[in-house]
Symmetry: C2
Subunit: 202 residues, 2 copies
């Protein structure tokens, strides 16, 4: 009698604080788990197979594309990254909520396949604030900063394709907002078929 | 630059705890106000014109129907009750969230006119629990109890026409859920046009 879990897609321009927010969701909600991506890149020190990524060879990855086993995939700097369908399905069926931290292009591909997903766009309080945040990272070169800002501008023009907009001004508020979205989505009548059946039987 | 407020429609079978929950919402949220109904019945002791109801004559009421000034109306035990459109509009435009505590029939009429409204059905944890609650009220005659239960059964069959289902098992949980629904609805991209404009300008 468990309802299916939520597929929660979160996108945000780089520098918006998405990773911090997602980590907090996972640690505060035992029912929420991360979607583990498939990649052909080499594991970094400390990364665990099946937890951080499913590391596979290029051949295996291409086989999975061919067999239609990926919900979406992309080639980034010569490495493949993708979302395995069976991981999503397995967890959602158990009633687990799965967070997919993904860029706008990936999210748009997912939307076609999972229209029932909850699409959240996390935005900085303003574009100029994002500029300050990205420029504040010393590790970024001028070229990287410029590229990130151009990309951020493009991404922020795609907010209209999402269901929810959360502005990350103060993390605690953004977190409350995302928590509320999850709880509200779980209260939706269209996601409560089993609950309604039970209600009328008892 | 204020977004329009939310029109929140809450229906519940009698005995579900709707009034307690609505009062708590009003007292905890300064931005939430009650929709004040129009009625032709005589004010009861302590009832305040414009706060509890707008008390009008039958003639005035009929004029308002004729002029299309009511969002919905019904005749109950010989008295007219209705929701004035201008009260809703005035508050929503100011960015106030308006709660409309109304039965299922009234809610269905409102849905046609205000599809952007947030329709919440508050349900008891089970039908048998509702039966216990209604029978526990000493003031109810056997006939009243029977009528209320038949009506509740019919109303619970209409949950599918609502957006959200909140089960009032423990008031504190039901309240958190309704609060989350309000916050989530305010985060919807479709309700954030002005926020998005501002975001890209700054």
């Amino acid at each position: 009698m468990t309802e299916s879990g939520l597929l929660i897609i979160i996108s945000a321009p780089s520098g918006t604080g998405k990773s911090t927010l997602c980590r907090k969701l996972i640690s505060d909600f035992p029912n929420v788990c991360y979607s583990v991506s498939l990649t052909t890149r080499v594991p970094r020190r400390g990364e665990v197979q099946g937890k951080d990524y499913f590391f596979v060879s290029k051949n295996e990855f291409k086989q999975k594309i061919k067999r239609g086993e990926l919900a979406e995939w992309a080639l980034v700097h010569g490495h493949y990254y993708g979302t395995p369908k069976n991981f999503l399905k397995k967890n959602l069926v158990k009633g687990k909520d799965v967070i997919l931290d993904i860029d706008v292009r990936g999210a748009m591909k997912l939307k076609k396949r999972y229209p029932q997903g909850v699409f959240i766009f996390l935005a900085p309080p303003s574009f100029s604030e994002l500029e300050r945040r990205i420029q504040g990272r010393r590790s970024n070169s001028e070229a990287t900063i410029k590229k990130r800002l151009t990309n951020a501008r493009w991404e922020m023009g795609r907010i209209g394709s999402y269901d929810y907009l959360v502005i990350n001004d103060r993390l605690v508020d953004a977190f409350t907002q995302v928590k509320s979205i999850i709880l509200a989505e779980k209260s939706k009548v269209k996601r409560s078929k089993k609950k309604i059946q039970k209600l009328n039987l008892l």
